[in-house]
């Protein structure tokens, strides 16, 4: 990771927090906006009690499983749809139709099938985060230069080898564009999926809900922050992986 970037990120965060704290201390912003100090101390309390981590663990489990699914299915289907015309034609209408569906509305149906379970939540996250990855992958495949495929075919590569060894690496830069959006959405949806009701009562999204229902914006901010933090962490991990895999590319990042 870029040292300079880290530094700038750190400075930005500190400045933002400082402004917020100043506004809060001067009481220029309403009390419900809380203040970094209050949020910080609440966060510390939750860290000490370990509560934050148990909640984060449940949430992370859901979002990472979903993201893994997004990654595997998004890339595999995206490549298949981009490369094989019939597959692309088959999937195009489904994607076009399902993409704008407000997924929350599908909840009752998912619930019948999978219960109020992690499966339902994971599916919900998956259904939202899938599309950016799929669309970017498909567009990436369309952008692959024809001669690369020809050269591979020419050397007797099988369809699978072409997909795996030519199409995949050639569209990888664009795939990562999509993955980055998907990853962010995963964390956003982690919250929404826990809003529907949580049976074991664990999860950062559930914490937000609970705090919100009790009018505790400070606690809400703690959870929101922690989600942001986790999101940031994983975003950086993704960028690092990207830089490694795209070492050959001019914009490895």
């Amino acid at each position: 990771m870029d040292k300079r970037l880290q530094k700038i990120a750190a400075i930005e965060i500190v400045v933002l927090l400082a402004i917020w704290q100043a506004l809060a201390s001067l009481e220029w912003i309403p009390a419900y906006l809380s203040s970094p100090y209050v949020v910080g101390s609440e966060m510390w309390a939750l860290i000490v009690s370990g509560e934050l981590f148990t909640n984060a663990a449940s949430s992370l489990y859901r979002s990472l499983v979903s993201f893994l699914l997004v990654m595997v299915l998004g890339i595999v289907l995206g490549i298949a749809a981009g490369f094989f015309k019939p597959v692309g034609i088959f999937f195009q209408p489904i994607v076009d139709v399902l993409n704008p569906v407000p997924k929350i509305a599908l909840l009752p149906i998912l619930m019948v099938w999978f219960g109020i379970s992690d499966t339902t939540r994971i599916l919900l996250i998956f259904l939202t985060a899938f599309f950016p990855c799929f669309i970017a992958t498909k567009d990436g495949v369309h952008g692959v230069k024809q001669v690369f495929v020809w050269a591979a075919e020419n050397m007797g590569a099988s369809k699978f080898q072409i997909l795996w060894k030519v199409i995949l690496p050639a569209s990888l830069p664009k795939i990562f564009d999509g993955l980055r959006v998907s990853l962010g959405l995963t964390f956003v949806m982690m919250f929404s999926s826990e809003m529907i009701g949580s049976s074991n009562g664990l999860g950062l999204g559930f914490m937000i809900l609970l705090a919100d229902m009790a009018g505790r914006t400070d606690l809400m901010f703690v959870s929101v922050f922690f989600i942001a933090l986790l999101g940031f962490l994983f975003d950086r991990i993704l960028l690092a992986v990207r830089a490694r895999l795209l070492w050959w590319s001019e914009n490895r990042g």
Partner: protein, 264 residues
């Protein structure tokens, strides 16, 4: 020889590119029979349809009419029996030079130690062993072309299809590559189909030179060249060489000016 199955047989081949409602006829009608083990050059004006022709023989793009057979088998898709060297660089930008050359061998399932040996051999042949760890984007135009050459030679197909393989090379390197190509071809029993702009090169290397007309391409003349093999660069100075060269030159000169002006 004539009654054996020809290595390459092209029958009334035609190609029309369409884009929306417009049509461009790239190849009018070409018929050709190339016996096994021959070195065939194709020359013709810029934009007449040489690359298109090679792409069809390679099985990369569909033809509009006619038939293409390699050793009696109809061509309908690319295959490792025909090694193609494209006019533009087709090196994978995500693999370094070594891995680019090794790629095809790996696909063919050649074992690693053998593969490394072969790759080293051909990279040294094109004078680029020292650049094996570089990425294609870090090479000059001529270097990329030499890597592509190494790649297709290492791959060792029965039929070599080469689209202006030496176009970006300086005269010296080009000569060296010509000599090497001739040697490799002679040692094996390959058939070569070689597109070039350099009439000297065509005459020097080929058993047969096929002259294409301007677009839409038809075969203007087929010239057999039977200097003894192996040929050395001295061949260039013989009268016979000069005559053939000038003849082709004249043929092409007739084409000049008609090639692109016909409109589309």
């Amino acid at each position: 020889m004539e009654n054996k199955t020809p290595a390459i047989e092209i029958e009334k081949l035609g190609k029309v590119y369409t884009r929306g409602k417009e049509e461009v006829t790239a190849i009018q009608e070409i018929s050709l029979k190339i016996p096994e083990g021959k070195f065939v050059s194709i020359v013709g004006p810029s934009g007449c349809g040489k690359s298109t022709f090679l792409h069809i023989v390679g099985g990369f793009i569909p033809k509009s009419s006619g038939k293409v057979r390699i050793r009696g088998k109809e061509v309908d898709k690319p295959g490792p029996d025909r090694g193609m060297m494209f006019q533009e660089s087709a090196l994978f930008p995500w693999k370094n030079v070594f891995d680019n050359v090794a790629w095809g061998l790996e696909i063919q399932g050649m074992e690693k130690s053998k593969r490394d040996e072969v790759v080293e051999h051909y990279l040294k042949l094109v004078n680029l062993w020292d650049f094996r760890k570089n990425l294609p984007s870090e090479l000059s135009g001529g270097m990329k072309q030499r890597i592509s050459l190494a790649r297709v030679l290492a791959f060792n197909p029965d039929v070599l299809l080469m689209d202006e393989p030496f176009g970006a090379l300086d005269a010296q390197t080009r000569e060296k590559m010509q000599v090497e190509l001739q040697r490799i071809w002679q040692e094996s029993n390959k058939s070569v189909m070689f597109v070039t702009h350099d009439i000297d090169e065509a005459v020097f290397l080929s058993d047969i030179v096929v002259v294409f007309s301007g677009r839409p391409a038809v075969v203007k003349e087929i010239i057999e060249i039977d200097f003894q093999r192996p040929r050395t660069l001295d061949v260039h100075k013989t009268q016979e060489f000069m005559d053939i060269r000038n003849h082709i030159w004249d043929l092409l000169h007739q084409e000049q000016g008609t090639s692109d002006e016909e409109g589309m």
